[in-house]
Symmetry: C2
Subunit: 233 residues, 2 copies
Amino acid sequence: MTVKALTFDVYGTVVDWRSAILGEGSALRPSLDWAQLADAWRGLYRPTLDRVTRGELAWSPFDHLQRVMLDQVLERSGVSDVTDAERAQLTGVWGRMDSWPDAVPGLNRLKRQFVVCALSNGSVWQLVSLAKRAGLPWDLILSVEMFHAYKPDPRVYQGAAELLQCRPAEVMMVAAHAYDLRAARDVGLRTAFVVRPLEWGPHATAELPEPGEFDLVARDFMDLADQLAADVD
Amino acid sequence: MTVKALTFDVYGTVVDWRSAILGEGSALRPSLDWAQLADAWRGLYRPTLDRVTRGELAWSPFDHLQRVMLDQVLERSGVSDVTDAERAQLTGVWGRMDSWPDAVPGLNRLKRQFVVCALSNGSVWQLVSLAKRAGLPWDLILSVEMFHAYKPDPRVYQGAAELLQCRPAEVMMVAAHAYDLRAARDVGLRTAFVVRPLEWGPHATAELPEPGEFDLVARDFMDLADQLAADVD
């Protein structure tokens, strides 16, 4: 069966959340350890969203949850003098991030052959802000906000395939995170793992998939386009 | 209050449905009167969607309803020899339409200053197909399919403002149809009427708004950009 649409994870896979938090955090409060705070903030991401998926926490948009997580991180780190306005500004960073250098040229190549679609835990507004800022040439932006469920909830992937009027096997999920791809695969989507060695900074170990676990493993979006023979010139 | 996002009606306002149906219909079945059939088909649009809004017809995507309407139109016109495959192909025309000449340059100007967002009764897939084909530079595509209600149901406009994280008065609805703008205005959106004198063909009378009824009346999207001072060069 032919792949018609590619759905992309965004945070970590398309944009570099860590550098953005380090950059804006350091500019705002140079005295704090933003490498530690960024990793701790991002570290709360999955446990918090998993609580929503398990029904322990009511669904609310990602902007709101990120603010709640930031408050938790600052409290746990013993930082209390960050004002409300500064916290709001920091939460807004999730709509102001640069993309990895291959993202825009890769998407431009891939969109000649496929529908390229964001499928992210970010809110619609965050995803629109990121796309406008970084010039991401999406054909379509889908947010979990449209399904009131967070990845890896199967309803997100199924809902995306339905809106795309595709059978699950006609959609390929692209992500730098195995948990996301495993959930997509479990409902029948195809899967492409893209390695993002710098997602957690220059000193972290890059996430790599198990051999043979996914349909494709790519170095970046240009390599993904090559492997999908997207370059039809 | 500043406008942040413009939401656009698509069929008639951005794309020329009538020429597309005439073109593809005539190529497929030259003996039929496609001007009459196109107008009759489009004429069933509002009564059918209004039945959904009144709860007399279950919600289903626009692609499906357009096929139902096409079957009705052909039957009423005494045309019975159009095959199932041809009917499916004709229904697909709603995803293959050219835009009015000012649409792409106008949207490109407007998107420098605003979020430009489709807000259409078309299905997500139809809107993606139209955008890819015509190069419509949407920042975001919203379809009534995401709300399971058709315009002019207030939930569509309210749902769009919510996803855009805007107050209603920060969103301006742009359409060539007064009924659409009236419903948007009734829930607090701003409104811009764009005159599309050729929507119903060269011999029809163009729809014009009541004087003073909407915030803006524009000749086309370039004029809209001028009036919104979108050209920031």
